[in-house]
């Protein structure tokens, strides 16, 4: 993305860019609550839908809070050498103090610094929230709360710094000088590979849900899943076109690619289902939408229409097949965070190496090259593979360590009784839907 730190600009407000970035920030927040919450919430059984919604709300709460306190500073603080190749100083802009507009992410395009904070806050929130899909139905609520804070601090903020904050994997980092400037327009590595690998690590620590596989885990409300998928698509334009940081032709290219890659991914996912299972399903349509969105994210403005169509089309097939991995290898990635976000994120990140271009309104950072199929040779592909691999390993290892420590300290897994009897009731003392026989006895609230 061009929405990035450029030191020393005198700030001149551009109301149009500012309007677009505030709008984008709003609709990216919508991607977590309610979109992702409902996408996942509809997929779980009715006895744990509230817990799923809650985990997403919690991600917005805790990560939102620490982002303003020190997360922005840790991600986008100015130091980028030595250890600060990996994370910036969390106290430089503690509570956003001293963050003047000329030091902001949008200084070069007239966007106030706090708008940059706002936009990026929603990325931190959704990355953490994505993980909930893998661990659905069995994690202790308090452990989830702790995890969100620790993981954002130790994994997300650093990776954001490395890729977007001028650090290790950025267009000015070592991979760029060695091979080519890596391209991650809107978060294929920082968001999707990151969350996907983390989901996998947690799943291995948590173990399978009782009764999986073989038990009845069908989605309790498919319209909720469709609602979530649709709102994810809608909000994703803020995610991808917003990542340009300005309202211009490059943002428009990201818009178009986000639209068409998703449309095609939905169609190829459905086609894959039709061929394999004999039916095209609504869950498949919703899943195809998300797979397409994930895969086009890193490439959003870095390919032309044909590149977007190819990436979307390939991602639809690849992810539709990848959701079978968990059955083959026996890890209970409940709602397919690995199959969709990890695999989709890798797919998009790597395919950039084939399709990157700077024609037809497409854009990539200085130091990047055209893809293999667009005459730029193999260098960009290698850079993309290196970055993807680094992100997988970085996120998986750190997450495993964090999860392991939490497991030792407070435990990760809910009691079997709570899991079987219904998390909503056991953990939150609630049930999602009305039923016969509720009697209120005690109405005095201790105030």
């Amino acid at each position: 993305m061009t929405f990035t730190l450029i030191a020393g600009d005198a700030f001149k407000l551009d109301t149009g860019n500012t309007a677009w970035m505030m709008t984008s920030a709003v609709i990216v927040l919508m991607m977590t609550v309610p979109a992702l919450a409902f996408f996942y919430g509809g997929m779980v059984r009715s006895k744990s839908v509230l817990n799923m919604l809650m985990m997403n709300f919690i991600a917005a709460g805790t990560v939102g809070f620490i982002w303003i306190l020190y997360g922005y500073s840790e991600s986008f603080g100015s130091a980028t050498t030595g250890i600060n190749q990996f994370f910036a100083n969390p106290f430089q802009y503690f509570g956003l103090i001293n963050l003047t507009d000329d030091k902001g992410l949008g200084a070069a395009v007239g966007v106030p610094a706090l708008v940059g904070v706002a936009f990026q806050s929603t990325f931190a929130v959704i990355t953490v929230a994505l993980i909930t899909g893998a661990i659905a139905d069995r994690i202790k609520f308090s452990s989830w709360i702790a995890f969100t804070i620790i993981w954002a601090t130790a994994v997300y903020f650093p990776l954001a710094h490395m890729v977007w904050g001028g650090g290790f994997l950025s267009p000015s980092g070592p991979v760029a000088s060695w091979l080519s400037a890596p391209i991650d327009f809107a978060g294929g590595t920082v968001v999707h590979i990151d969350a996907g690998a983390a989901g996998l690590a947690l799943v291995l620590l948590l173990g399978k849900r009782k009764g999986w596989p073989g038990g009845p885990f069908r989605p309790h409300n498919l319209p909720y899943v469709m609602l979530g998928a649709a709102l994810l698509w809608v909000g994703w334009f803020g995610f991808n076109a917003g990542s340009e940081g300005a309202a211009d032709g490059t943002a428009a290219r990201a818009w178009i690619n986000t639209f068409v890659a998703t449309a095609v991914a939905m169609l190829t996912w459905l086609l894959t289902e039709k061929v394999r299972d004999g039916r095209a399903t609504s869950l498949g349509a919703a899943s195809g939408v998300v797979a397409g969105l994930v895969a086009i994210t890193p490439a959003a403005a870095a390919v032309d229409s044909f590149g977007a169509i190819a990436i979307g089309g390939i991602a639809g097939v690849v992810c539709a097949l990848a959701i079978g991995l968990k059955f083959r290898y026996g890890f209970d990635d409940a709602l397919d965070v690995v199959g969709v976000h990890l695999v989709g994120g890798i797919t998009g990140t790597v395919l950039i190496g084939f399709f990157a271009t700077h024609h037809q309104g497409a854009w990539y950072p200085t130091g990047a090259k055209d893809g293999l199929l667009y005459g730029g040779g193999i260098t960009q592909l290698l850079a993309q593979i290196v970055v993807a691999a680094f992100a997988v390993v970085f996120s998986f290892v750190l997450t495993y360590v964090i999860g392991y420590i939490i497991k030792q300290v407070g435990g990760l897994r809910l009691s079997e009784e709570a899991e079987v009897g219904g998390i909503d009731l056991a953990v939150h003392g609630e049930t999602a839907y009305e039923s016969i026989g509720a009697t209120r006895l005690n109405t005095e609230v201790k105030a």
């Binding site: 394999r276 299972d277 869950l283 498949g284 959701i323 059955f327």
Partner: protein, 112 residues
Amino acid sequence: MKLVTGVIQPHRLDDVKSALEAAGVRGMTVSEASGYGRQRGHTEVYRGAEYTVDLVPKVRIEALVDDADAPAVTDALVKAAQTGKIGDGKVWITPVDDVIRVRTGERGPGAL
């Protein structure tokens, strides 16, 4: 008195209701049920995982009737529910010791 219970195809409910009325039944109780029998269930596929659903939606109808009316009511029920396809359901008759109308406390056939 007798209790005539029928487990039928949901889309026959309307006709059965009319038929029972025509047969002089003044009230009945209806509830949702699922059945298992010769009629095959179906499979559903979610992200490639196949689920077998072997329960088929049915509707249960219960009518309390006088001993004398039981055969006629049963016949009416069966006839109205019949489509001739597997899964049409069952009707059964059980003895009832007593019936009370809650509103009035009346007992016996007069309470029907």
